[in-house]
Amino acid sequence: MNIFIIMVSASLVSNVILSQFLGICPFLGVSKKVSTAAGMGGAVIFVMTISSAVTSVVYYYVLLPLSLDYLNTIVFILVIAALVQFVEMFLKKVVPSLYKALGVYLPLITTNCAVLGIAIKNVQDGLNILESVINGMFSAVGFAIAIIIMAGIREKLENNDQIPESFKGAPIVLLTAGLMSIAFMGLQGLIR
């Protein structure tokens, strides 16, 4: 598949959050401030790129030759969990500045379903290793775009006292997400 199409499709057209519903929890939970949202987005881009690479290498060079590909769910979740721990330790030791920026968010990512979801999807769609990395990276970029836009809107919503009592908090955020999702549906015309 054309690399460019994968980029556009992963980040905009089939956005991980707004059209595939992967990683909804951090999207709704960590989107109160633009700065935290950006940190989370950065951490996800970092982890998702590495994890896509590692999981597809593991799949093509370990699981397939041993014909253990049916174990991919178990293997992937363990690889991702170990990887996040490892990345955390590595950053702490080697790149403390980056660790300072992203460190808080790293433990949150282990249970982020977007990371596992994209890893499994890469394999299901039969993408090769390079395509997997690109797909993982740009899916994460899509995640970052969505969460930062959401955080920007939520910062404005904070000052709005016109919201009905029962819509305060979660419901208004979900409605906003719905509208964003409609807007992103418009991008489907980009490919085809």
Partner: protein
């Protein structure tokens, strides 16, 4: 409490008191993603229930064998194994459901309801109550997904559980109604299905209204008793590990990474509160405090 009471209480707890969808708002990804029709909701709910019950049972049996430090990876392995087994069963016997749920079956592994129950309940209790806990929570989740799926299917496709009531209703009216009604129908038309509800945006919008409805009821109830209303909150899923650990054994069991995160969050909350206070006090108060601070500094010097 006797044995039967505990079990019954667990079931009720999962379905009503701590319903994962309507009270705790956990497991939002499948709640939004697979509820394009009522039948998919039921399928996903029951699949999750089976896995939850099995994993609760297994973890409860193993609870004395699993060392405390590696318990989370151990739980994940147990859950992932059951997910793989269930995935194959679905592939063999219910291929259509398997196709409809697709990617979301392997993703049950990271569904925080399951890990949350393992951590909060099954790792501390005997097998039988753990099974009942799994059944209760799973059934509560199934109800949540079915409600969501039904609303979306009715609004988006004009059918329920695959039964196309809208078309039947239209036919019925065309065959039996008087001329006046028919004319009205032709000019106005009966309710048209709104396609967007079965697409992605519909999921968010329907969930928003469901949550708002629950909030509305809670506010009304609270107004009667005079308490402060409890509004539903979105948990950051990944912190549900934290959440459970916090609820049961504050801070003791959390790993260092989690703990630093908690501290960070506490700090942030504190600063936000301070900022709010400052805003309330207004500029004059701020000036005052600054003046007094300067004074004290001068004294210290």
């Amino acid at each position: 409490m006797s044995k039967e009471n505990v079990c019954f209480e667990r079931l009720k707890n999962g379905i009503v008191t701590e319903n994962p969808t309507f009270v705790q708002m956990l497991g939002m990804c499948p709640t939004l993603a697979v509820t394009t029709s009522a039948i998919n909701g039921v399928g996903m709910g029951l699949t999750t229930m089976v896995i939850l019950t099995l994993s609760n049972f297994m973890i409860s049996i193993l609870r004395k064998l699993i060392p405390d430090k590696v318990r989370i990876p151990a739980y994940i392995v147990v859950i992932a194994s059951f997910v793989t087994v269930v995935q194959f069963v679905l592939q063999a016997y219910l291929p259509e459901l398997n196709k409809a749920l697709g990617l979301y079956i392997p993703l049950i592994v990271v569904n925080c309801i399951i890990l949350g129950r393992a951590e909060a309940y099954a790792s501390k209790n005997k097998p039988l109550p753990s099974i009942m806990d799994g059944l209760g929570m799973g059934f509560g989740f199934t109800i949540g997904l079915t409600v969501m799926g039904s609303i979306r299917e009715i609004l988006g496709a004009g059918s329920i559980f695959g039964y196309e009531f809208l078309e039947k209703l239209n036919n019925f009216i065309n065959e039996n109604a008087s001329q006046g009604v028919k004319d009205f129908m032709e000019s106005q038309g009966l309710f048209e299905p709104i396609g967007i509800f079965v697409f992605a945006p519909g999921a968010f919008i329907v969930l928003a209204f469901v949550v708002a409805f629950i909030n509305h009821r809670n506010i009304k109830k609270a107004a009667k008793t005079g308490d402060k209303a409890k509004l539903l909150e979105i948990h950051d899923c990944a912190s549900c590990e934290l959440e459970c650990a916090k609820r049961t054994e504050p801070m003791k069991k959390t790993s260092p990474g989690m703990q630093s995160l908690n501290d960070e969050l506490d700090k942030l909350e504190k600063t936000v509160e301070e900022m709010k206070d400052l805003e309330k006090k207004g500029a004059s108060a701020m000036a005052d405090s600054a003046a007094s601070k300067a004074e004290s500094e001068v004294k210290q010097a």
